[in-house]
Symmetry: C3
Subunit: 332 residues, 3 copies
Amino acid sequence: MDSVVSSVTTKAKGVTVTNTSTLGFRVWDVADYVIPAQEENSLFIMTNMITTVNQTQGLCPELPDKTTVCKSDANCAAGSSGTHSNGIATGRCVLFNETVKTCEVAAWCPVEDDTHVPEPAFLKAAENFTLLVKNNIWYPKFNFSKRNILPNVTTTYLKSCIYDAITDPFCPIFRLGKIVENAGHSFQDMAIEGGIMGIQINWDCNLDRTASLCLPRYSFRRLDTRDVDHNVSPGYNFRFAKYYSDPTGAEHRTLIKAYGIRFDIIVFGKAGKFDIIPTMINIGSGLALLGVATVLCDVIVLYCMKKRYYYREKKYKYVEDYEQGLGSEMDQ
Amino acid sequence: MDSVVSSVTTKAKGVTVTNTSTLGFRVWDVADYVIPAQEENSLFIMTNMITTVNQTQGLCPELPDKTTVCKSDANCAAGSSGTHSNGIATGRCVLFNETVKTCEVAAWCPVEDDTHVPEPAFLKAAENFTLLVKNNIWYPKFNFSKRNILPNVTTTYLKSCIYDAITDPFCPIFRLGKIVENAGHSFQDMAIEGGIMGIQINWDCNLDRTASLCLPRYSFRRLDTRDVDHNVSPGYNFRFAKYYSDPTGAEHRTLIKAYGIRFDIIVFGKAGKFDIIPTMINIGSGLALLGVATVLCDVIVLYCMKKRYYYREKKYKYVEDYEQGLGSEMDQ
Amino acid sequence: MDSVVSSVTTKAKGVTVTNTSTLGFRVWDVADYVIPAQEENSLFIMTNMITTVNQTQGLCPELPDKTTVCKSDANCAAGSSGTHSNGIATGRCVLFNETVKTCEVAAWCPVEDDTHVPEPAFLKAAENFTLLVKNNIWYPKFNFSKRNILPNVTTTYLKSCIYDAITDPFCPIFRLGKIVENAGHSFQDMAIEGGIMGIQINWDCNLDRTASLCLPRYSFRRLDTRDVDHNVSPGYNFRFAKYYSDPTGAEHRTLIKAYGIRFDIIVFGKAGKFDIIPTMINIGSGLALLGVATVLCDVIVLYCMKKRYYYREKKYKYVEDYEQGLGSEMDQ
């Protein structure tokens, strides 16, 4: 038996447009929504986002919540910073809007307001994006290697095919919506708060048979189980920023809280070839177990049956005491 | 037996210059060609690239191909977007150049033209870059840990050495060109369209012997088998963009289609120590197999040999029927 | 037995401020110090940095060291580039400062001066940042899945808890300082030159028992063993750059040599359920081993004891030569 060594590369395709008041008409392509541009066994597709444009280093009121709303400076401890703070408190209590006052913080201003996640998802068209997964596997012990693009597949087929468990089980191009659907979830629901999808490639092979029977089997699984009770940072999101330089040399940035689906490609499998040693160990153990039958028969015959004394007499040869035997011999 | 737990860090070194009409004279250092800056068990070195400078959101003609070349607006479906599109079609048919008309798209304009991959590779000097691989391993069961920088290696040696299978088998600094060459490929060929190289570190150790005999063994393998029949996105490449802000606040970007070599560091190994239990299981099974000899001898003696009746008589003690026995006893 | 399949997501929280002459007063939040923004099983927190602002492509003197200090142009070979060079030598010898002359290079200018690592660490406040680790595991053979946020944990608890081996062993939120401390190191020391911390989650489960007894066990380990003898790139650091565009269209960048701690989340574990086959193999082997007792007794009784001839006589039934037997029968 040997475990698989694998290498995975992925490539997403797809373009979509959005039209919002803050960002205007905007086209999104691969370089915009895949973050970071490349990973080893994984690919993140941004499906939703909260953008905070033109942040600069400065002082501004914190987002109102239980701990930041204040009446006067006395409510704000200078230098303090909670787990969910956007900055370090200056100790002043300032107007957040016309009605609410919050503690002022030194932060990237204005601070991000992530209380409302866009619904439906901002890049909901990601459902129709496609993902090409190229996977090479290698069983080092048997020096057997194979790729998930099978040799009998034509280039024309690969240009147009989309994976389907029944009609196209060996097409390595997946529609994102179908991946999520196959795992039993709704893409549009998942797109809002993000999540992790596992694309599992199983390469169980019996290498005693011909190599062409060693085929990849794809399966899909949502890896982040949503738990209704615990919505502590549900789904999957992270923050990143694009940094710009003003003509004056000052730095400003666009902060993006990116929600999206991370596709983890999990390759597993075991290849086996007939080997005499484990087989002999199993046969040996099996034979030894047959020995239990003899012991059981003996126990039944010698201890349980009515005629046990008779059998016992026949079974055992009683060796007379040697000394006595010698004595009787001497007697003769 | 125990499987290895490992941590890997990598560091590339090397500088090169290019001089092209679009980019001018330009120096490339680590921060320019390693993308992303850090990964867990992997390092990507850009060796070739297609740069599309000064892209802005707008409308422009699509790259001509079978589906995008048009005669009139009737050929272009507004809102449509194919798998290989750079944007969303507006429904208009516009001049791409003086002779060809293509469908107009809303996209990052001008669209990328990646029909010709630069040959030879743009950063062909990457062949002489070096890669330092630091690897710490740990066998949890035996609480045994070791690093690939061996204790008897001096700092001076590490500053100047380059790995060579024969002369410097324990130097953890690799010349990129040599890695590819050791795997039996040509660096300059691989640099054009990119690929995946596996740097395998094997830590098979017999922990019954002294720890200094537990040594890393390096081997190199190209993980993406090129297949002449299927050139659906051959090699390895991905797109990323550097975003800039105009003085007016408008965003523009430089799109880079990066071709290059991803070095995956694959650490494997098994450490073993003598353990009495599996040894006993094997001995037990072996002994049981010896029992087959007895059975075989019996079969031959009792069923196959000419004198079988004689042996059978001697072998078996025939127990007379108990009832009969009792009867005869009563008769007496 | 089955091995674990796992998915990990991480989220860091924390803000700090720095005040230096080169960068001024500056707030650092998650988007600034987590690089890259997301990784699969890993998270890098920048704790220290050497920033080289406003680099442009050009010609400038190299950093003085053994190989770059020069007296005249004769000491500088045009076009040469050593392993630690910042650029390609132009062949000229120019003033680095008022007293030292070094070879001129074509490089991103001014070149980075990383001879002095800031001490104490620039973002030493990272000690108080927190890290939420969400981990879902799955045992494919038994179709058993579980997450490290246990079902009996309340949302309020999760909002305020910090992992502690004794008081809060199931809280998935870790204080960075405590992680390093639990591994037996000092955070402030590690923060200066960086390093790798392993957060190990052990999911050994006996699935014959109730699922609620299958619990994660956290442990911490420094994965890069510091070796006092070999300080060839000690700790963990890498370089990345933020690229800006001048109003004139020229590109400049800020080069950052980032030192920091990479937290690798290592999930391991084996789940077992009672299975009859290996049990039978072990019992079989065990029984076979009991057979050794019979053989040993026989050896002792038949070869070692004084009365061995007596026992041997009783043990073996001597089969007279068949021919002879037949002969004697005929004789009769």
